[in-house]
């Protein structure tokens, strides 16, 4: 008899407090589109930019990167096409158009869903000013720990 109650006591301990109501920073989120910058004359070498500003066409928001060869661009989750202007130092700018398809994937009770993307095309307005070419490494944007796109400049 005493053993039975001890068993129930253990069960109660087991079930206390479940932290699945909280979505923490460590949980997955919607992946960003990751670009790596390469040297167009030495295609195997990274080439950093001093400053790079990415602005949406309506100028609502700007992302700024300083002295880096790796940039991450959040894709718009309520659109299937994005236009952004990539500007480096001295105001040299190129307009980039990204066409993609979005799919929402369930994460968890607390975190809801995330968007994942399938990239159709990434194009640069010609003639390009500083972006020599863009190569898509993978068109599936599901995680953002690896690069999806190579930029040669």
């Amino acid at each position: 008899m005493r053993k039975i109650w001890f068993f129930y006591f253990l069960l109660c301990l087991n079930s206390s407090c479940e932290p699945d109501d909280i979505c923490s920073e460590a949980n997955p989120s919607t992946p960003q589109l990751v670009f790596r910058l390469y040297n167009s004359s030495q295609p195997n070498e990274f080439k950093a930019v001093d400053t790079l500003r990415i602005m949406s066409l309506n100028g609502e928001a700007t992302l700024e990167f300083i002295n880096t060869d790796s940039i991450a661009l959040p894709l718009q989750i309520n659109a299937s096409k994005m236009n952004a202007v990539f500007t480096i130092s001295n105001g040299i700018a190129d307009r980039v158009e990204i066409d993609y398809q979005k799919k929402d994937i369930y994460l968890s009770r607390a975190c809801g869903f995330q968007s994942t993307f399938l990239i159709h095309t990434i194009g640069v307005d010609q003639p390009a000013n500083w972006l020599n070419s863009i190569v898509t490494v993978t068109n599936q944007v599901i995680i953002d720990t690896l690069a999806h796109v190579k930029i040669f400049h």
Binding site: D20, S29, E60, I77, G112, Q114
Partner: protein
């Protein structure tokens, strides 16, 4: 009694349960519940509805030694439970840590997404008391621990709520329940039937 109370008090909840037990020996009862639940869960990240039916079967053991003629119970027992249910997602939030474009991240769905023909299978252990209020009329309360054995996987969603099992945790197979019952004993057949409402 808790289920109609809860149906009235709690918004977006409907539930009903019928339970019965049958005495096999002085201490051992065959026991079961059948019921339905319809629950809508709205949070910052999700808005969904779960509805379905469930059936539980098992045994109760009376640990209480009654005086002659008394029928009170201090009981423990177990159940195997199974459900058939559906989920309907009305809206969800997309998790976007870097919301630089200042987009609306919550998406109400004009056409809800349905996930139908789902099922689950679980084990319950319970402790409870039952007391005779009037002749042949009993009132009981039991606390239950549920362990989810198996549930049919949902494509791009999850069984966050299961009728009869209640809330399902993302991180543990354990759940819990509380049950208030009112039951009537049919003395001719030495059979007890109860109408109850589960919380």
């Amino acid at each position: 009694m808790s289920k109609p109370i809860r149906s009235v008090v709690e918004d977006r909840y409907k539930g009903l349960e019928f339970t019965a037990d049958y005495r096999l020996t002085h201490t051992l009862y065959l026991a079961g519940e059948v019921g339905m639940e319809d629950k809508r869960v709205i949070s910052e990240s999700l808005d969904f509805n779960t509805s379905g039916e469930y059936l539980k079967l098992g045994f109760d053991i009376n640990l209480f030694r009654n005086w002659q003629g008394m029928e009170n119970q201090l009981l423990t027992g177990f159940r195997l439970g199974t459900s058939t249910h559906n989920h309907r997602v009305h809206g969800y939030a997309v998790r976007q840590l870097n919301n630089i474009w200042k987009e609306e991240l919550y998406k109400p769905l004009k056409t809800p997404i349905d996930y139908n023909n789902l099922s689950a299978f679980w084990f319950e252990i319970l402790v409870g008391v039952k007391a005779e209020l009037l002749t042949n009329l009993y009132m009981g309360i039991s606390v239950r621990m549920n362990y989810l054995i198996n549930d049919k996987e949902v494509d791009n969603f999850d069984n966050l709520y299961i009728p009869g099992f209640h809330r399902v945790s993302d991180v543990s197979s354990w759940g819990a329940g509380l049950n208030y019952t009112i039951m009537y004993q049919f003395p001719l057949y030495r059979k007890i039937r109860e109408y109850s409402y589960i919380r």
